[in-house]
């Protein structure tokens, strides 16, 4: 290992903070920082400033009108028929005015349901996923106490139908529910598929199953919302110790690759919950770069 002095270390400050140095250079800088309090303090301060600066520039979302025009151009590029495009416009307008589905009751189903998903609808798909998982886990928790009860599946179905009619989606998943789901092996007891409408979106709960990877137990919930089959994964945080390494799982969303597809996860009450926007046939997790 080559020892660096203060001047050399300063020259490497930004590449070091950007994690762009090779292993040898990184080790040299770290060795210097371990013995030079002045440089260590300077590195820590610059890192803090850089982080605060980055926060300034991470603010900003695509304006709604820009987003809608972009969606319209995508629909146009997809070759969607004009009447379907018109229904899309109506839907966008309906969503903007409160989520009322203005499509006539006798209208034929859209040929490509996914094409009707606007940006806001996609965000809703994620919210729906949270709802489904919350419902599933809550009932798994109750089921753990009565897993041999004769009407457990019936209770689940009734609750699912009731939840599907609700206008607000619960967003809290409790860790006990996750553990109960895993402990009770309840995923095999529900008579999937279950269908319903949530927030004017047709939703079909296809199934849930326990997954294992590297000794970690997780739940993979599959559902179909407006023709898009999506996986929701739930993993107790404690089970992720072996995987997360230096990654600190805080309140901020984390990027993952699940079954080869980039996904976003977030810790809620002791469980990592996330959505993969397509069906994940298995749960092969890794942290995204």
């Amino acid at each position: 290992m080559t020892t660096v002095n203060c001047r050399d270390a300063r020259a490497l400050l930004m590449p070091y903070l950007d994690s762009e140095l090779d292993a040898a250079a990184t080790a040299s800088v770290q060795e210097h920082l371990a013995v030079c309090a002045t440089c260590a303090r300077r590195f820590e301060r610059e890192a803090r400033l850089e982080s605060a600066l980055a926060d300034v520039f991470r603010v900003g979302t695509m304006p709604a009108d820009v987003s809608e025009r972009l969606d319209a151009r995508l629909v146009e590029a997809s070759g969607m028929p004009a009447d379907v495009a018109r229904r899309l416009d109506e839907r966008l307008a309906a969503e903007a005015s409160g989520g009322v589905d203005v499509r006539p009751a006798d209208a034929p189903p859209a040929p490509s349901p996914i094409l009707r998903l606007s940006a806001s609808a996609w965000r809703w798909v994620a919210a729906a996923a949270v709802l489904l998982v919350a419902v599933t886990l809550w009932f798994a928790d109750r089921g753990a106490a009565r897993e041999d009860g004769p009407d457990w599946a019936g209770r689940f179905v009734s609750a699912w139908e009731a939840a599907a009619e609700r206008r607000t989606a619960p967003t809290v998943v409790d860790a006990d529910g996750v553990r109960a789901m895993l402990a009770a092996h309840a995923v095999g007891q529900v008579p999937f598929p279950l269908t319903g409408r949530v927030h004017d979106h047709s939703v079909e709960l296809l199934g849930a199953r326990e997954e294992r990877f590297d000794g970690v137990r997780a739940v993979n919930v599959l559902y179909d919302c407006c023709g898009v089959v999506t996986s929701v994964f739930v993993v107790p945080v404690g089970a992720l110790d072996a995987l997360r390494g230096a990654k600190a799982l805080g309140a901020e969303p984390v990027d993952l690759v699940v079954d080869g597809v980039r996904a976003r996860g977030q810790v809620r009450d002791g469980a990592l919950i996330g959505v993969v926007s397509r069906h994940a046939s298995g749960l092969e997790f890794e942290w995204a770069d």
Partner: protein
Amino acid sequence: MTDRHAEFTALLEPERDALWRYADRVCWDRSSAEDCVQEAVLIAYRKFDTFTLGTSFRAWIFRILANCILNANNGLRRRQSKVVSSEHMDLVEALDKEEAYQGVLEDPEPLLDRVSEEVRNAVKGLSPGERMVFLLRAAEGFSYREIADAVEIPIGTVMSHLHRARAKLREALTEHAESTGFARNQDP
């Protein structure tokens, strides 16, 4: 087509805001930013068959967006890779000697909370290349290699652009701290 469209939409959705932020801050006006984002997304959609699933969609579509921005702004491409004078290369070192900069380093968050708009505007004072590189790194977390691929410049140029951009922003921040007495206010 549905599967392909669904796949594309799903990959695009998490990047929408980042694409907009980037275009909005690199282009000179909102209209140009929207044109560039639309063009980039439509090009990506048409070329989606060439995208390899499992690789970085983010890097891929930002590369297309960077190209659209460069093509839409005459002269940007010419200037973005131009190696300018190194007058700012040692600016960070020079700033070290300034008391106000030490004040900024001491407690940057309160200052940035107050001057975030000014700092965002200061980015406009960067050269096009510096601006593109800095925003990809600071706001979007791209690696040097990903930036080099997106903007199509050598990694060495990425590093020099980044260094100058950071130095200029720190200089602007320090000037602001000095002019508002922020640094002095931090002293007990």
